[in-house]
């Protein structure tokens, strides 16, 4: 995904990452003990981490539930990895307004769902392999739209060091 051509947006995304890192749910997750097959769940108000890029169209804002499940250790790419499954779905009857400042376009985002499979080194916790799927949809400029992104992230061992 390109990040160029929109520096204000990069700054807002950067701020969003910081807000996310400081979110109470993140701190809960860091200190949680993940047991095999028992999902860790938490609710988050998207405006807290994605605002002001995305703002709720209805108040009070409904929380989006996130779930992380540790399914145990799997063999992947010739090694052993800890498999984490993550998922989130926008609550029913919830929508957000997405603003693109430079073009003055506003679009409604009324569906969001995502799933990912994350394979971590079981001892050092860095990602070995990841599969992410994000699906969104809504209405913009009078037209219905959907967007789906599938991402495969692979550790390049040859270009990595110290692991």
């Amino acid at each position: 995904m390109s990040v160029g051509g929109a520096e204000p947006m990069i700054e807002e995304l950067r701020a969003g990452v910081v807000r996310t890192a400081q979110h109470p749910l993140q701190k809960r997750l860091e200190s949680a003990t993940l047991r095999i097959g028992e999902p860790f769940t938490g609710d988050v108000l998207l405006s807290e981490i994605l605002g002001p890029l995305m703002t709720p169209t209805r108040t009070p804002e409904s929380a989006t539930r996130l779930a992380v499940t540790y399914t145990g250790r799997k063999r992947v790419n010739g090694g052993v990895a800890a498999e984490l499954l993550m998922s989130y779905t926008l609550a029913p009857n919830t929508s957000y307004r997405f603003v693109v400042r430079e073009s003055k376009v506003q679009i409604e985002v009324s569906s969001i769902s995502g799933e990912s499979r994350d394979y971590l080194d079981p001892d050092r916790y860095y990602r070995i392999l990841g599969y992410d799927v994000i699906t969104t949809g809504g209405v913009g400029v009078g037209k219905r739209w959907t967007a789906k992104q599938v991402t495969v992230t692979t550790l390049d061992r040859a270009a990595s060091r110290g692991i």
């Binding site: 995904m1 890192a21 073009s103 916790y125 739209w145 599938v150 495969v152 992230t153 692979t154």
Partner: protein
């Protein structure tokens, strides 16, 4: 006013980055030894549909996190780059990203 596909990609980027970070357990939790570099190849397929007109694009990019040393005891500075363009420094305290700062404003064109 057109519903530009780059806008929809931007929605995906925003949602994906925000919510993925909300569940982040990977690299931010990595116990960084001196000189450590994590380099990833990211292959992305994006399908957008506007009023039944479907378009698919594919991208391949590189993501790199490099340890730039310790700031103070227990705090590590990690440089983040996309496609060899440094975009930010992150200060990692234990397993938490405590603050990010702009490293270089230059960024690749979409």
């Amino acid at each position: 006013m057109a519903l530009d596909r780059s806008i929809l990609q931007r929605v995906l980027l925003t949602v994906g980055l925000g919510l993925a970070a909300a569940c982040a357990t990977a690299s931010a939790s990595f116990r960084w030894p001196d000189g450590a570099v994590l380099s990833y190849v990211i292959e992305t397929s994006i399908e957008t549909a506007v009023a039944e007109r479907v378009k698919t694009t594919r991208e391949r990019q590189r993501f790199r996190m490099s340890l730039m040393g310790s700031v103070v005891s227990g705090v590590r500075r990690v440089r983040i780059a996309f496609d060899d363009v440094d975009i930010a420094d992150a200060l990692l305290v234990k397993t938490v990203i405590s603050r990010t700062s702009s490293c270089r404003s230059a960024a690749p064109s979409p």
